[in-house]
Symmetry: C2
Subunit: 461 residues, 2 copies
């Protein structure tokens, strides 16, 4: 058995960039910053270029450095112009490199410079809480962390990020609804070390408030989320709002497991049993919906996918199907999927419908009028409610899904995916579904992530 | 369409005994009363014989008259002697006739005199509310009805009894938990006619209190039952306590249906579709438990049967089976049965077990320790609870029942039936079960009663 200190030392080695990596990244960062400044000067734009993100804060994970360069514009610039000029500048800065336009709240440019991913992000140069675009806070976050995070705490941030990433709950984007890098930094500033952060979370109470400064008295009235984490540069912002109950629970449970039985495996992506081996015995109960969708900003897309899978789950439950698990996936390019694990793909022939009690005269009459002819048997339960035994009209899950998808408005799926689902969905079941999962990288990865964390998140010893 | 008056007139004809029947019954009653009085005199017992029941009150239904003769003993008689002397006297009174010892709270003697059933019931001659045995109230009930029920209301009582009987909810015994003859009389005294009684019940509110005299202020605190009907000869007694929610609902619903669309069929036992035709399509989901049991007082036996079927239903539900309906039957001699209609006799291979939320640290740990190795998959739900997907250990309802019955104490079945169930139960399913139901008169009647009342109790037009 390795001691906790040895495990943490080994984990640190996995996180800390080496000198060679630091040199390469620094060189790219300098190059880009210089290019940005000269382009701004040359084009006579009233803007300022600054480095941000985990590079600037020196908290990036070995082998995973992006360089974020913020171009800060004056707040009197109109939004249209801001977007236009911002992207023009970015393109000029990355001229000669491979680039890709990306969308968060507004467009930004991603490029690759000597193999390093560089994001050129336009934002406004405003005072705190006078934010115009969502990116305006980022330079303040960078400044705050650079000023407060002591040198010796940087590797604590890296350990925490690595741990959270290996559990699949790193990132505040809608897809994951997990812990952002900035949240990891705030947590280390708050608790002082990786281990103390895990200890705090392993004993977390529902609705906990985490803050670095003073807590506004009405904080619990203003924010409603499983955990409240106040942004130290803007106490009106709850960083916890982006974290789902599911991601939070996964982190809490993993923290408890790690503290009880520390192991290096908590810092590595799990590559144990293949999901195919895990899912094969339940193949008979699997349904895969595969569909095409147009490209859009990932946060919007994943929001639509979540909403859609929730709607499908709800509707299937209403129709009597026991949905054991449902989740969604996307290539983020052109294909999406919803995977349903049902207790059974067919329902029993008969069902009971429990009606109102006899004292609600009008309701009872309505129930009887509606159900009498459909009832094979009808009687009063021991507590005086009308019980109708009926043959099920539709017992086959695939048929039910087909009929639901033919009317996606009624189904309640996200508006942006309605037409896509209606016109392009292929429904696969059983081994056909598994084969399709195996053959599509994006889908295989997502399924692997969601089915194989058993002995990390939950293992208590 | 026949008018309400014509229907009621026809129904009255079905209820009213004719002169010939009256003559026969009177002759038997006089004979028995005279014999009782001379036996009492001859044996020098300090007792008094009086006629009671529906004969004495002139409210019996055509063709269904029993003669109840009460032998009232002095209250200082010890219970043992009361039972002994009471039965000795009764045997002497019915000497020469075919007799049978019956048990209610205490034994009484049933005999057949010229084809008329005669019950000789010992009781105590006490003042109201000083009751020693349960039968002591009966002579007071008889007196009360004879004094208050006007001649023209007797046929209203008969209509009500006939209506309630045809709906299968006549009788206060534990088997039926329905409306006794005395309750029917009290209702007619209260509402003044058959139709007004139906009107009152069709608009009944939950927890209604029905009384002839003044209502004690604390009546709702003292009695808890779906309906409270105060006994006019003893306001400390709630006649409604014997009426189940199910029987009450059946009467209320039938009353509404009849008032909406009066028909003579409400006064006749339904003999429409055979239960075999009704049950055949769902034969695959039927389980019949047949067992032998010793003879005992019917109220005790049916209490045990109810308790047993409730326990079996509860245990099957705990194990994941959807119990659509369960009911019990007995020959009241030596055989009993419990019939279960399940949604399916086999359960799906996988199930989910939802555990505590992550914040309940000790509970969460316990759940994980107990379920981790059984879990095929385990994850956190969207609301932060642990969800474990597991293969079901036992999926077959018959196997589950066999195992439950092998340990009837744990199952929670009535103590008096435990050994009988454990040692004598035969489990039949599907067509085998239906065949067994058809072949046993007591079971066939019970099933027929319970499955075929659809178009009477519920038909609104």
């Amino acid at each position: 058995m390795t001691s906790l200190d040895e495990i943490l030392a080994a984990a640190r080695k996995m996180c800390e960039p080496d000198e060679e990596e630091r040199r390469l990244i620094s060189k790219v960062a300098d190059t880009i910053l210089n290019r940005a400044r000269s382009v701004i000067k040359e084009k006579k734009v009233d803007a300022e270029a600054v480095l941000g993100g985990s590079y600037a804060k020196d908290t990036w994970l070995k082998g995973e450095c992006d360089i974020d360069l913020f171009v800060k514009f004056q707040p009197d610039l109109k939004m249209d112009e801001f977007k236009q000029i911002g992207m023009d500048l970015a393109k000029e800065i990355l001229k000669g490199y491979e680039t890709l336009v990306r969308y968060a709240e507004h467009p930004y440019l991603e490029g690759f410079v000597d193999g390093v991913r560089v994001n050129i992000v336009p934002c406004f140069n405003v005072k705190p809480r006078h934010w115009i675009s969502a990116a305006d806070r980022s330079p303040y976050h960078t400044e705050y962390v650079k000023r407060h995070l002591k040198e010796e705490l940087k590797s604590e941030v890296r350990l925490l990020k690595k741990f959270i990433k290996a559990r699949g709950v790193y990132g505040a984007e809608v897809k994951t609804r997990g812990f952002s890098g900035y949240v990891c930094e705030v947590l280390i500033l708050k608790y002082g070390s990786f281990i103390r952060t895990l200890e705090a979370f392993s004993n977390l109470e529902r609705g906990a408030v985490i803050n670095l400064g003073e807590v506004p008295a009405d904080v619990k009235l203003r924010f409603q989320s499983p955990i409240i984490i106040l942004d130290p540069v803007d106490s009106e912002r709850n960083l916890g709002a982006a974290i789902s109950e599911e991601s939070l629970a996964t982190f809490i449970s993993s923290a408890r497991s790690f503290l009880q039985n520390p192991s290096l495996k908590y810092f590595e992506r799990y590559d144990g049993e293949s999901f195919i081996r895990l899912l094969e015995p339940m193949a008979d109960n699997l349904i895969l919906l595969l569909f095409a969708h147009e490209r859009r900003s990932p946060d919007i897309l994943w929001g639509q996918l979540h909403k859609t899978s929730e709607a499908i789950e709800r509707q299937m439950k209403i129709r009597g199907f026991e949905v054991l698990r449902v989740f969604e996936a996307s290539s983020e390019e052109a294909e999406g999927a919803i995977l349903l694990l049902l207790e059974s793909l067919t329902l029993p022939k008969y069902m009971v419908k429990v009606g109102p009690d006899v004292y609600r005269k009008a309701d009872a009459l309505r129930f009887v009028q509606k159900n009498l002819n459909r009832s094979t048997l009808i009687w009063f339960s021991k507590d005086g409610r009308i019980v109708s035994l009926q043959e099920r009209v539709e017992r086959n899950a695939v048929n039910v899904l087909q009929s639901l998808l033919s009317n996606p408005t009624e189904l309640g799926v996200a508006e942006g995916l309605r037409e896509a689902l209606k016109s392009s969905t292929t429904i696969l079941t059983g081994r056909e579904a598994l084969k399709a999962v195996e053959s599509k990288g994006w889908l295989r990865r997502e399924v692997q992530r969601l089915v194989s964390t058993k002995y990390i998140t939950f293992d208590p010893d």
